[in-house]
Amino acid sequence: MIKHEELIIIGGGPAGLSAAKSALEADLNVLLIERYVRLGGQLIKQTHKFFGSKNQKAKMRGFNIATLLIDGLKDAPGHLTVLTEATVVGMYDERIVTVWHDATYKKYQADAIIVATGASEKFLAFENNDLPGIYGAGGVQTLMNLNGVLPGTDIIMVGSGNIGLIVAYQLMQAGARVTSVLEAAPRIGGYAVHASKLRRLGVSIKTRTTIKRAIGENKVEACEIVSLDDQWNIIEGTEETINTDAICIAVGLSPMHQLLSMAGAKTSYISELGGLVPCVDENNQTSIDGVFVSGDASGIEEASSAMVEGRFTGLIAAKKLGHVTKGFDKDINECRDQLFNLRRGPCGLKIREGIRKLREVNDHA
């Protein structure tokens, strides 16, 4: 039996929650599907105060933002149903999805779907990279900040983007020791303020350095690091062995496009957006009518932009279903302004370039 829903939102992170809020405010009935036991996505493990401006809840800690977004769904006029511990395993024509929940497969058909599935952590090729004790940096953040368990005591962080720097700092806050942060590029990838916080704690950041191999039988015991030249080649003879019981990989994120690909939405590989992304129009609608995408699933960015995109997409989806809210034009413009502002600086260069390329692909189609 296929159950009919007005709007289905897949993913209860910053984008999905914000989309749910604006859709509910437009008096839509919403089914919000979340894989984990509770809502919040990756916000629930973010212990640092957020950047951005007041509109994106700057200076609040991430896990408090999650609570705020979840509580914000309570008073809206529309009807909300939340499924947690529910994984959408299939998406088909006619906006039909299959959900694995309560040890059964359930089928739903929706008038509109917002895919807010977020991202997955990228991996890195090196010898023995499958040893236990090698984790995604985000995985370690979950383990320590949600479950209160440390992965080890002497930790190597591979990658100096914001996730690498932030998780390294949070490991130190939790009582572990980060031996060093490795960065293959000549420059630190994340914000300088995050790097400076780590350096004060005595953590070294080694640029032009990468991991060559992990060492250990059933568990990481050490790793070999090596310097790189300006052509990214290993400089022989610079190998150094460091004892470590946990290696965190923070080399970027890939958008979770799989459900959209499965449903036949047009995608394009755009490295600036993190990999394969759905081709969307300026309303975040994919090539499938009534299927929208928002947040990291449409291109890797910060949680701040995911919240704004979510709000935007919720409003657009509601309009599509005939629910035009009172301040619609004003709200849409506000979202566009906020996104423009978050992306207009040097840190937004990559995302701006990615979006430009995406539009180009659309124009050629």
Partner: protein, 104 residues
């Protein structure tokens, strides 16, 4: 190795109720709020599965249910993603070897 965080400047890990479970038949204790994977980690168990072809040890990687490297047999059910499944009292957790189907 894995261990509980004692003192944290931002988060409060108040002492939570112990939860008894069994790993390969051996009794262990986790805490309320643990996932299966975090409870095993806190008990020093890092090898959660074995690779199908070469039987190499596998731990968890992503902790959000994406990668599948933490799949175990839980209360007789194969391929449970232990990183996103909450620990409940008296759970029986076992390692799978090769393709899980071989054992059922």
């Amino acid at each position: 190795m894995g261990m509980r965080i004692q003192n944290h400047p931002i988060l409060e890990f108040t002492e939570k109720k112990p939860v008894r479970f069994f790993y390969e038949g051996k009794q262990m204790v986790g805490r309320e709020g643990d996932t299966i994977a975090s409870a095993l980690h806190a008990n020093g168990i890092n090898v959660l599965s074995r690779s199908v072809k070469d039987n190499r040890p596998r731990g968890f990687y992503c902790a959000i249910g994406n990668c599948g490297s933490c799949q175990m047999r839980v209360d007789g059910v194969n391929n449970v993603r232990t990183c996103i499944t909450e620990l409940t009292p008296n759970m029986h957790i076992e390692r799978q070897r090769g393709l899980a189907d071989d054992q059922t």
